[in-house]
C-alpha cells in the first residue's frame, strides 16, 4: 500500500477511536453525503460543477499543505503517493457518477487529478487585518486565526446575507455557511501555556469560550435576522430558532476540540465529524443532532481538560 495512504489510514483510525459514539454519526452522515453526491451527478450541469468542485478542493489542499517538501524529498514516488491521496479522497463521491448518465465525470476527475501533485507552489501567508485584535480580543485567538484563514469566504457571505436579508430562507442558508466556517475554527489545539493562561478551571474556561462565541454570533446574526423578520413576519419562529441551532453547532465544535485536546495537536478527524454534523444541522430530522452532540461532548471536554488544568 502507498506509504501516505497507510499513514492517513492510521490517522483516521486514531481520530475515529477518540471520538467514540460520534464516529457512528460521522459514518452515517458521510454516507448521506455520498448519496447527495449521487443525486447531483444525476443531472448534467450539477454533475460538471461537482466534478470541478472536487478538483478545485484538491488543488486548494495541495497549495496549502505544508508537508509537500517532506513528501517530495523523503517519500519514494511522491507524485504517485499524492495522487493516490487525492484519488482516494474524491472516490467516495466521484464513483457515484458511474451509476448515472454522467459516468464520464469519474475518469475525467481521475485524469485531472494527475496534474495536482505537480503543483509545487505553496501560497505564501500574508498578514491581513493586523489590527483585528482591537475588535476581537487576543484571548479569542481561534476567532482571530480562523477569520484570517477564512475571511475570503466569510466577508462575501456575510455581505450577501446582509444585502439579501429581506429574502425568505436564503439569508439563513448564507448564515449557516458562516456558522459552518466558524465551527472549523476550533480544530487546532493551543499550546499548554496558552491553555493555562489565567489559571481557569475547565468549567470556567469552557464557559468563557461559550460566552465569547455567543457575543460574536449574536453581533453578526441579529441584524440579518431582524431585517429578515421585518420583511417575512411569518417566519419569525424559524428566525428565532435559527440562533440556538447555530450556537449549538459552534458549541459542539468548541466542546469537541477540548474533548480531544492535546497540546499543539491539529485534530484533522474532528474536521470530518464537524462538517458532517454541520450538514446534519440543516436537515430537518437531524436538527437536534448538534445540540445532542454538544451536551454529550461537554462532559468529555471537561474531563479531558481536567488532566491539563488541575495542578
Amino acid at each position: 500500500m502507498a506509504i501516505l495512504l497507510n499513514i492517513r489510514l492510521i490517522q483516521v483510525k486514531r481520530e475515529l477511536n477518540s471520538t467514540g459514539l460520534g464516529a457512528l454519526i460521522a459514518i452515517g452522515l458521510f454516507s448521506f453525503l455520498i448519496y447527495a453526491a449521487y443525486t447531483v451527478f444525476l443531472k448534467s450541469p450539477g454533475a460538471y460543477y461537482l466534478t470541478a468542485f472536487l478538483f478545485l478542493a484538491c488543488v486548494s489542499v495541495q497549495s496549502y499543505r505544508n508537508d509537500k517538501q517532506f513528501v517530495y524529498i523523503h517519500i519514494r514516488k511522491p507524485h504517485f503517493e499524492m495522487y493516490s491521496e487525492y484519488l482516494l479522497l474524491t472516490i467516495p463521491f466521484s464513483a457515484t457518477s458511474l451509476f448515472t448518465s454522467n459516468w464520464f465525470c469519474f475518469p475525467a476527475l481521475a485524469a485531472a487529478l494527475l496534474l495536482v501533485p505537480y503543483l509545487k507552489f505553496t501560497l505564501k501567508q500574508k498578514t491581513y487585518f493586523k489590527s483585528i485584535s482591537s475588535v476581537i480580543q487576543a484571548a479569542d485567538f481561534e476567532w482571530i486565526s480562523g477569520f484570517r484563514r477564512s475571511f475570503g469566504i466569510l466577508i462575501p457571505l456575510y455581505l450577501l446575507a446582509l444585502g439579501l436579508s429581506w429574502f425568505r430562507i436564503l439569508p439563513l442558508l448564507l448564515l449557516w455557511f458562516i456558522t459552518v466556517t466558524i465551527a472549523s475554527f476550533f480544530t487546532e489545539c493551543e499550546p499548554l501555556h496558552i491553555l493555562k493562561e489565567g489559571n481557569l478551571s475547565s468549567a470556567k474556561l469552557l464557559k468563557r469560550k461559550l460566552i465569547r462565541m455567543l457575543i460574536y454570533i449574536l453581533f453578526m446574526y441579529i441584524p440579518v435576522l431582524v431585517i429578515n423578520t421585518i420583511f417575512n413576519p411569518k417566519y419569525w419562529i424559524l428566525n428565532l430558532l435559527f440562533i440556538p441551532l447555530q450556537i449549538s453547532l459552534v458549541s459542539y465544535a468548541v466542546f469537541l476540540k477540548y474533548s480531544t485536546y492535546e497540546p499543539n495537536k491539529n485534530s484533522v478527524g474532528n474536521n470530518v465529524i464537524l462538517s458532517l454534523v454541520s450538514i446534519g444541522s440543516i436537515i430537518p430530522y437531524f436538527l437536534p443532532i448538534p445540540l445532542m452532540m454538544a451536551v454529550f461532548t461537554y462532559g468529555k471536554a471537561q474531563k479531558n481538560l481536567n488532566n491539563y488544568l488541575n495542578d
Partner: protein, 228 residues
C-alpha cells in the same frame, strides 16, 4: 524553598527521573546540565506541572507546587497558527508591572505585526521569552533558552536572568553550552540517567569541564583518531 522528594518519572516503564531528592533555595539561579536523554526536559516538565508527578512530591514553600508559581520557557516553542506576535503577547495578562515591551523591543527587534509562522527559530524563541517575562511568577524555568539565539540576544538573556535573580526570583536554566551557565548560575547540577549525579557551587565551576568531560574527551579522542 523548593523540595523535591523521591521524585520518579517513567515513560513506558523506563525511568527518566529516578528517585530524585533535592532542595533548591529561593532567589538562586540553578543550571541543569546533562547529555541528550539525561532527563532535563522531563525534569522541567514535571517541575512546571506540565507533567503530573507519578511518584514523589514537589513542594514550594511547604505546599504542593502550582502552575501559578511558575513561568516556563519550553525548549520547543509552539504558538497558534495565523496570529501575529502582538496578538500572542496580548493573550497573556501583564502581571509583571515592570515589563516594558517597547524597551525590550529595542533589543529584540521582532516584527510583532507579522504572523508568527513567518518568524525564524530565534525570533520565535525571543517571542516566547517576552511572553514569559510579561508574567510576574516566583519561579522561572528556561529549558535550553540559548538555542537559536544570536550572540547579542544570548548576552541579553544572561542579563535578563541576572535581573530576575536580583528581583528575588528563583531560576532554573538548562543548556548544552556550559559558558552562559558559568556566568549566570549560583549552582550547576549534572543530571545523569535520571539522577543528579554531581552538583557544583560557584567556587567549583572551574572543575566542571574536567570532571564531566575528562573521561568523555579521552574516550572520544581514541575513537576519533581511529575512525577518521
Amino acid at each position: 524553598m523548593i523540595k523535591l522528594q523521591n521524585l520518579t518519572f517513567s515513560f513506558s516503564g523506563h525511568k527518566v527521573l529516578d528517585d530524585i531528592t533535592i532542595d533548591f533555595q529561593e532567589n538562586q539561579v540553578y543550571g541543569i546540565v546533562g547529555l541528550n536523554g539525561a532527563g532535563k526536559t522531563t525534569f522541567f516538565n514535571v517541575l512546571s506541572t506540565t507533567l503530573k508527578t507519578q511518584t514523589g512530591t514537589i513542594k514550594y514553600g511547604g505546599n504542593v507546587i502550582s502552575n501559578k508559581d511558575i513561568a516556563y520557557l519550553e525548549t520547543a516553542n509552539y504558538f497558534y497558527s495565523r496570529i501575529t506576535g502582538n496578538e500572542y503577547l496580548k493573550i497573556f495578562k501583564q502581571t509583571n508591572p515592570g515589563f516594558n515591551l517597547g524597551s525590550l523591543q529595542e533589543f529584540m527587534k521582532l516584527p510583532l505585526d507579522d504572523l508568527i509562522e513567518t518568524y525564524s527559530t530565534g525570533m520565535k524563541k525571543k517571542l516566547a521569552l517576552l511572553g514569559v517575562l510579561k508574567q510576574d511568577k516566583k519561579i522561572f524555568l528556561f529549558d535550553e533558552p540559548f538555542n537559536g539565539l544570536d550572540l547579542e540576544t544570548n548576552k541579553i538573556l544572561e542579563l535578563i536572568i541576572t535581573t530576575l535573580k536580583e528581583k528575588g526570583k528563583t531560576i532554573f536554566v538548562s543548556s548544552h553550552i556550559i559558558d552562559p551557565l558559568l556566568t549566570v548560575c549560583n549552582q550547576i547540577h549534572y543530571l545523569d540517567k535520571g539522577k543528579f549525579a554531581r552538583s557544583f557551587d560557584k567556587a567549583d565551576f572551574n572543575q566542571i569541564e574536567d570532571e564531566l568531560f575528562k573521561k568523555l574527551k579521552a574516550d572520544a579522542q581514541t575513537i576519533i583518531s581511529h575512525s577518521l
